[in-house]
Every structure is written in structure tokens, then in C-alpha cells.
């Protein structure tokens, strides 16, 4: 279920962010509780709570006392802005380094991207 490389609580936070970006969780919509996450992933509720804590620190979620956690206004924009910032360094640079290492010329790479772009937009 989880990849071993990052702590579980960061992976839970990442999953909630993914759901917000894809629009599966809307602004002011309630998120599952830490206990629900804990039972689902079979982890200690304190571990799940840590993921939620990070999301409230980052103002992605907010807490309604006694009710639960909700998606903040503007959460999606904030996540997207953050991911855009890291996109070139974390995704494109890594891809280019791999292409260089195995000898894929830029032209071929660019052609592939253009071709996929064409296929995806049809």
C-alpha cells in the first residue's frame, strides 16, 4: 500500500492533496476522520493525525471543533502553485538526466512529447 521511502503520515497528506487537485474533494467539504484513515490503512491514529496536522499547518485543511476536518478555501490553488514550483526540478530534470544517461537524443524526446500531447488532446 505504502512505498517505504517516505513516512506514512506524509503519504496520507499526499493522498489527500491528490484528491483535492483532482477535484474529488471540494472546498469546504469534510475529509474522512483520522480514525477512519487509521482503520483503513491499519496504522496508529496518532500517525494519521500527524498527516492531518501537516495539512492544517499548510492551511490545506481546517478544523471545525467537534465536527471534523474540512478543505480550506483556495487549497487547490495553493497545492497547484506549490507543485508547479517543484515540477521542473523534480520531474523534468530527473527525466532529462535519465535521457542523457541512456542516450536518448533531445529531438526524439521532444517528438515523443509532441506526439503524446497530440494524442491526449484528441
Amino acid at each position: 500500500m505504502f512505498d517505504e521511502r517516505s513516512p506514512i503520515y506524509l503519504q496520507i497528506a499526499g493522498q489527500i492533496k491528490d484528491q483535492i487537485v483532482r477535484g474529488e474533494l471540494q472546498e469546504d467539504e469534510q475529509v474522512m476522520s483520522t480514525n477512519q484513515y487509521a482503520s483503513f490503512y491499519r496504522i496508529n491514529p496518532a500517525t494519521a493525525a500527524k498527516g492531518f496536522q501537516q495539512l492544517t499547518d499548510d492551511k490545506i485543511l481546517y478544523k471545525k471543533r467537534g465536527i471534523g476536518m474540512f478543505v480550506s478555501q483556495g487549497a487547490r490553488e495553493r497545492i497547484i502553485a506549490d507543485r508547479r514550483e517543484r515540477f521542473f526540478q523534480e520531474k523534468v530534470d530527473v527525466m532529462m538526466a535519465e535521457a542523457r544517461a541512456i542516450g536518448i537524443p533531445w529531438d526524439e524526446l521532444m517528438d515523443y512529447i509532441k506526439q503524446r500531447e497530440g494524442a491526449d488532446s484528441q
Binding site: 487509521a38 496504522i43 496518532a46
Partner: protein
């Protein structure tokens, strides 16, 4: 209601001339799931026996809430100590054993006990001494969970249970803990199987507390860095290496301690692989090191 805290202060236990536990000072706050880890003979069962009032400490204090635990019925009624075996009088049937437990466990839940008996497919009307080892372990687990005791201790209670039953047990511990928060202490050698259940981890080594940390804090205390040997060596400089492996020019070093922001930055720059260390690896390394190489 929150389970009372457990406080041990400078507690020692000696058997004749042998010191089983030395100067244990420990505070366990209520309503958490704790792991008690240690190699064979490290003192886990001794510590849990003193906590459960099965034997007195030689010196020091052990309290549940504000009360000394030894010979104190009010305190011991709150504790349920389950081992892998000998949890019941084995001439009895399982039914009688459960009825006996129900009688003196204030929070006992009969319906829950029934559900667990079904889950582990245990017969009510057979005598416990006809049970297989796995069945005896499972009966212990039923008694521990259904007691809903504010402090429930499973001391390697899984021994003899097969993998599917163990996973049912882990799942049940978590589910029932979420519904009925209480203090649960699990002593185990099968660390990887249960790791994700724990909130805090206590490691005993040679009768002393080697470490008591949250699982989160512990998991940040070790990383494995892999990459070209020269770069990996540079990162490892000044840190405690728990182990290293080399394959050609690629080196992998397991480091204990928290990486500095500078180290993290250069790991990123140099594209080195970094992995958190699992609790089991950390435990193996820490208790091996203590043996004094």
C-alpha cells in the same frame, strides 16, 4: 475515561545475585499503543511482571496513576497481562475460563468475547489442555481484548498463532483501540508485522532502558544513504554509521541520528538515494551495538 499513567522510578529487580532490571525510569501516558522491544533475556517479561504485580520490585517504585501497584487490588484490577500460554487454569473448559475472567474484569464485554471466539474458531466446551498451542494463544488474545482493561499487556501473546490469526489479532487490536481507547503494551519479536500500530516504542537492553521514543521520532533517527562511495562517505562523516555495504563503487551506509539540512541538501544535489530505516533494522543495529564490539 482516560487510562491512568504508568510511572516507574528507579525500579530494579534482582533474582538472587542476578540483576534482571536496573534503574528503570519510565513514564507511559494513558491511551497509547506501546511497543516493548528487546532481545531474549533483556528483561521484557520481568518488567511486565512487576508492572502487573506478579512480583515485587527489589527497589524503586511502580505506580498506576498515583498508586503503588504491588499488592494493590484497585490498581491490579485495571491491568490485564496476557502471555502466550498459561493464561487460564487449563483443566477448565474455555467457557469456564471466560466466565471466570468476566467475573473479575470490570470492563469485560461478553458479546465481544463471543465475536472473537468465533473469529478464531475456538470451541467453548473443550478443556483448554486439549487445545493446540495456537488455540491457547488465541484464547489468551480473546481474554486480553475482551477484558477492555485500561492497561492491557500482550507479552508475545502471538506465539504459536499462525500468520492469518496474527494479522486478525493486529487488526482487532487497532479497531478495538480506536473504539475503546486504552493503554495497550505489546511485546514482540515480529516487529515488522506490527510496527504501524505503535505510537511509542520502548527498547530494553540488558535490563536497562535503551530508548523510549515515539515511533515517528525513532523512524527519523536512521537513514540509509546509497550512491557513489566518495559522496556517501562525505555524508557519513561525523555521523554514527550502524552498518555499511559496498558493491563495486556503490556504497550504502545506514546512519543513526538526524541528518543536518546541509547533508539533506547535498544528498539531493548529488542524487543519492535515501531511505528511512525500518524499526526492525534500527532495533537490530542498536541492540547489536550494545553488545560491545
Amino acid at each position: 475515561m482516560t487510562a491512568p499513567d504508568i510511572t516507574m522510578e528507579q525500579m530494579s529487580l534482582k533474582y538472587d545475585s542476578v540483576t534482571a532490571l536496573e534503574d528503570i525510569t519510565l513514564r507511559l501516558t494513558g491511551d497509547k499503543i506501546y511497543a516493548l522491544l528487546g532481545r531474549n533475556g533483556s528483561g521484557k517479561t520481568s518488567m511486565l511482571s512487576v508492572l502487573s504485580s506478579f512480583r515485587p520490585a527489589t527497589s524503586g517504585s511502580v505506580k498506576i496513576g498515583t498508586e503503588e501497584v504491588f499488592d494493590n487490588e484497585r490498581a491490579t484490577l485495571q491491568i490485564c497481562f496476557i502471555r502466550d500460554d498459561k493464561n487460564v487454569y487449563e483443566e477448565e473448559t474455555a467457557k469456564d475460563a471466560l466466565a471466570f475472567a468476566a467475573n473479575f474484569r470490570p470492563n469485560w464485554d461478553n458479546a465481544y468475547a463471543d465475536r472473537l471466539m468465533n473469529m478464531f474458531q475456538l470451541p467453548y466446551n473443550k478443556r483448554v489442555n486439549t487445545f493446540s498451542r495456537g488455540m491457547k494463544s488465541a484464547l489468551g488474545v480473546v481474554m486480553g481484548l475482551a477484558s477492555r482493561a485500561p492497561i492491557t499487556i500482550f507479552d508475545e501473546a502471538y506465539l504459536g498463532m499462525d500468520a492469518p490469526s496474527r494479522y486478525q489479532f493486529y487488526e482487532e487490536v487497532l479497531r478495538d483501540y480506536i473504539e475503546h481507547p486504552r493503554t495497550i503494551i505489546l511485546s514482540t519479536h515480529l516487529i515488522e508485522e506490527v510496527e504501524s500500530l505503535f505510537e511509542e516504542v520502548i527498547i530494553l537492553d540488558q535490563g536497562k532502558i535503551l530508548m523510549h521514543e515515539t515511533l515517528e521520532a525513532l523512524s527519523q533517527q536512521g537513514v540509509t544513504v546509497t550512491g557513489p562511495a566518495e559522496h556517501v562517505d562525505a555524508i557519513a562523516q561525523g555521523m554514527t554509521a550502524l552498518g555499511e555495504k559496498q558493491l563495486g563503487s556503490t556504497k550504502s551506509v545506514t546512519l543513526f541520528g538526524i541528518l543536518s539540512p546541509e547533508a539533506r541538501e547535498s544528498i539531493k544535489q548529488l542524487n543519492l538515494e535515501i531511505e528511512p530505516i525500518g524499526l526492525q533494522d534500527l532495533f537490530v543495529h542498536l541492540t547489536k551495538k550494545q553488545k560491545g564490539v
